[in-house]
Symmetry: C2
């Protein structure tokens, strides 16, 4: 046979993680029993407990991999952008691509948090992801000399875009989020020049 040696079947661990990634994300972690993961991955139950300590560790690994893959993708997107403001907007460009993908069903960690119980893998992974997300925007906001509050506002637009894309089935919302971010960036930049601009009040 010319085609090298048949690239031997992927390990049970890999097949398990691939199937878990799809099912957990598509249907929610608690909605998917291990029996379904086993059946769809074609792996024996014993192999699950040989490779993982239990469902909890499978979930932990699933969430960890999701975080790592998304962070890597953002890193790629950022590489092409020059300067903190451009990098901030590039994050929203990455969201636009993500939302447009066929199977998009919201942010993995927002969804996981809704199912989280105290001390669970979901809780820990969400905490880690949130730290990463805040640092992502926080770094660029600080670099640009903008006030810290802007980072919190950008995180809100990031999360809000995810929710709208998911719940309203509206991938195009990433553009509106990017526009809003650009607007906030402009305002922050203007305020950096002039120390204290007048602010709008509620009862005007």
């Amino acid at each position: 046979m010319s085609a090298a040696q048949t690239p031997r079947r992927r390990s049970a661990r890999d097949r398990l993680l691939e199937t878990a990634d799809r099912l957990f994300y598509d249907e929610g972690i608690h909605n998917v029993g291990i029996d379904r993961v086993l059946a769809q991955s074609g792996v024996a139950k014993g192999s699950l407990y040989y490779n993982f300590s239990g469902k909890d560790e499978l979930v932990r690994t699933y969430l960890h991999n999701r975080h790592a893959r998304w962070a890597a993708r953002i890193d790629e997107e950022l590489a092409a952008a020059a300067g903190p403001s451009a990098k901030i907007l590039a994050v929203f460009d990455a969201l636009a691509e993500l939302f447009a993908e066929p199977g998009f069903r919201g942010c993995t960690f927002i969804n996981a948090a809704a199912e989280a119980q105290p001390g669970s893998a979901e809780e820990q992974a969400t905490k880690d992801f949130r730290t990463w997300l805040h640092e992502l925007f926080g770094t660029f906001v600080t670099e640009a000399g903008y006030p810290d509050k802007l980072a919190a506002q950008l995180v809100m637009l990031y999360d809000g875009a995810n929710i709208s894309a998911q719940l309203d089935h509206n991938p195009g919302v990433a553009g509106a989020a990017r526009d809003a971010a650009a607007d906030l960036l402009d305002t922050a930049q203007a305020a950096t020049r002039r120390p204290r601009p007048p602010s709008r009040r509620a009862s005007d």
Copy 2:
């Protein structure tokens, strides 16, 4: 006895809904079995199935009541505000109050959506809530003559504030969301006067 007749014990239905409201919201719908709702409400299993067709209808009613109560609360908050812009900002004031409440654990419907399966009560209730939310902002944005896109951006800030308040345990984020909304409102107002202002591009 002077104190009128002892106000007879609240109905099984009411006690069930009160307990379900607390448990479903605090721990997530799928994390709460009917046995726990029954035990904590002191209601017999038979009464659940006498008053509801099953857990699904209990969930449906729980979500419906949550929506109704929040909509009523927003209505109150809006009554005090004059003009579309003030009403928009008043929604964020309502969020600030909500986030500051002790048991806050995120938006009921964002959380429910993460557990939703196709055709479930969670899915339907979330859809209804999203329609209401978009109309809430959409009405005021239209009244003020702002572009439709602004409504989508305000919804994103609303959702994003909920997520940050929940996942980052930061109730104060409502203030930053309000500020961002005010900023977008200002920009929209300026753009209403001058038809086409220059927009920031990524690669500048």
